[in-house]
Symmetry: C3
Subunit: 287 residues, 3 copies
């Protein structure tokens, strides 16, 4: 008899995400073990439990999901998990804190359906948040020129430095967007705009958007009104209006969910996958 | 394929109630997700996880149970859950902190099997505790005249004020029961007595009970000796002795458990039920 | 329909052991309820939940596992669990904090396969740790003369006092092993040596071991290099070298895991088993 598929859900928050738990169940996990308050300090013993219990031949039926609202905290946990693995004693791991990786993968895939990345310019509003950073990273990796925008130019520059330290050839630049004029300048010549800011904040108003005549696709990831980009409906999915192609949060969310569930399948096909933004993006091409 | 029935067990205590978890499993829940230390402040994100994950058409297969030893804390959590729902994005919820709702429903149903509520007088000893308050509320709603008893007349009056603020026509009055004489007076003319006090405290002694010649049914909800009403056995279930009909905690417990399990079934029939004391009482009429 | 097999995993640590959870799932438990931070103070309510929910006739389908890294804390929890049970209202309980009981049972069983206990002398290095104490207890119970070793003679004497207070006839003595000379003396005339010390510490070097010509079997329970006994490989399982029979941690681990899984089966055969070191050792004879 084949062993049960066990997923260990490591969450850095005070409660394990109910969203991640329900997707895991609907994604076919047989047994879900949830853990809250996970840190690099306390994860080692749990990883030992995951890798020392079943025989190495059965470890492909055990996997780890790392989540939580703090992307940096989740990345530090993933790093410690990698350090704890050795030889064949490892299991597959998916990293998706707050849905940042699957959301960014789905958003960038949507954009690139309409604008080929090579030679394109993409502006990411709210580009220093967890989802925004992931969008910029994926767009740059595909060869687009990426403008990382923030009300704080310092934070935007820090994100760009981080991206260049991962990939010296990344075409990224930092832009301040404290005023409509600055936002207008950051969008000059862009074919793609993705808004990944905080809930309830409009980052691009109607008048400014109309002035950006190079824009071909506009994607807003905010599920709670008002939209981050004026004129986008939450359910837009390649909707054409005003000469633009629109995606709203729910329109992107369907793809995001398919990526998440397919990734769960792949976690249980072998025992040594690490699924971060890039792997989830590649997976998304096929779904 | 039909989606798995997922129950989110929100508990206000430091550990999720094992009792509630086991009843959920035996009641047919496919996947149980348990959460401890739940407050109105931290529940919102978990409710979002419950309502944003599955499509609205599938939300009838997700439900929430709110428990814990503190009824007021659980009620505040339920209130916040209701505020978080919007439009079709909602799931059914059952409230039964410390079993107070199902226990009170079963106790009042037992009493009313023998004494019709209209025109009857019911005395609730320990009437300011979680179960006692629920008993008084259900009895008053059925049209009985209810005497809420406590060693503290102030607490009893506060409970009566609360009941009248819910239902201006409720026939309720507060009674002090610090001495056998006061208890005797509080029982004068009552056909029903329910003891819902703390474990290990006798609220009605043998001699006083014999003097209350109007009594027809006596119900004690204390599972740990001594009984709250002298002469009741924990397993009594409509037992007739001394010209009285007796119910003990286990005798009532069978009905309570059936109500609890039937309620779990109903939670998964639609996505917008709220099951508080009254709904569980109505459900109990049929089990 | 038979009721689901529910295991309540009570862990004294801040997170329930993933190891224990995975073994429980692979051992056939239908529903696993995990609890962290368990103490004698907070366990009573959870035990009530376990014994009051299902009818007494069904309680053999509910069981408790007590784990955690602190053996004394877990023993105190078990004691409180026993006190909470009454009459037929009880469920079976397995105690295996940090795997101490199953590991010690497997190690002693391995040793006694090669050396009959009566008349034998066994030296336990690292004899004051959780596994070491359990090994000494089981060896003494089988009739061996046992030498409990520690760098601290005081701690070793305390362990011996504890063993004699359990069994006045136990043949146990305390030995200091701060130097190779002391270790050599503690091994003089021993046929069995078990190393149960902390990870990463060599307790018996190659030269000293070669001088102990009475030794027949050497068992090391350290899974992380270096071995506690020089020359033992972690996968040794009755390996013969240098005229000695060797067992390493993985060699012992297979038996340990079989004992753990068989014990889980037995927990669900009746509702009144308590499985501590001795019961697990007896169980191990048959696996």
């Amino acid at each position: 008899m084949s062993k049960a598929k066990i997923l260990l859900q490591f969450d850095t928050d005070a409660h394990p995400s109910a969203f991640d738990s329900i997707v895991a169940i609907d994604g076919g996990v047989d047994n879900l073990l949830t853990y809250h308050g996970i840190t690099p300090h306390n994860v080692t013993e749990l990883v030992h439990g995951a890798i020392f219990t079943r025989s190495p031949d059965d470890l492909w039926r055990t996997a780890i999901f790392v989540g939580g609202s703090d992307v940096a905290a989740a990345e530090a946990v993933l790093e410690q998990i990698r350090h704890t693995f050795f030889g064949p004693l490892r299991v597959s791991v998916m990293l998706d804190p707050g849905g940042a990786n699957t959301t960014a993968a789905a958003a960038v895939l949507a954009a690139l359906r309409h604008v080929p990345p090579k030679g394109a310019t993409a502006t990411v509003l709210g580009g220093t948040g967890p989802v925004g950073q992931r969008c910029a990273r994926l767009l740059a990796r595909e060869g687009a020129t990426v403008r990382v925008c923030s009300r704080s130019i310092g934070r935007a520059e820090a994100v760009c430095s981080g991206l260049k330290s991962r990939d010296v050839d990344a075409q990224v630049s930092a832009h301040s967007t404290r005023t409509p004029q600055e936002t207008r300048a950051a969008l000059e010549g862009s074919q793609i705009v993705i808004a990944a800011g905080a809930a309830g904040v409009e980052l691009l108003d109607e008048a400014t958007r109309r002035e950006c005549t190079d824009l071909k696709v506009a994607i807003d990831l905010n599920a709670v009104p008002p939209a981050g980009i004026a004129g986008i409906e939450v359910v837009d999915r390649a909707a054409e209006r005003d000469g633009l192609i629109y995606y709203g949060a729910i329109g992107v969310g369907n793809t995001k969910m398919r990526i998440h569930k397919n990734a769960l399948q792949l976690l249980f096909e072998m025992n040594d996958r690490i699924m971060d933004a890039e792997e989830l993006f590649e997976l998304g091409r096929g779904v």
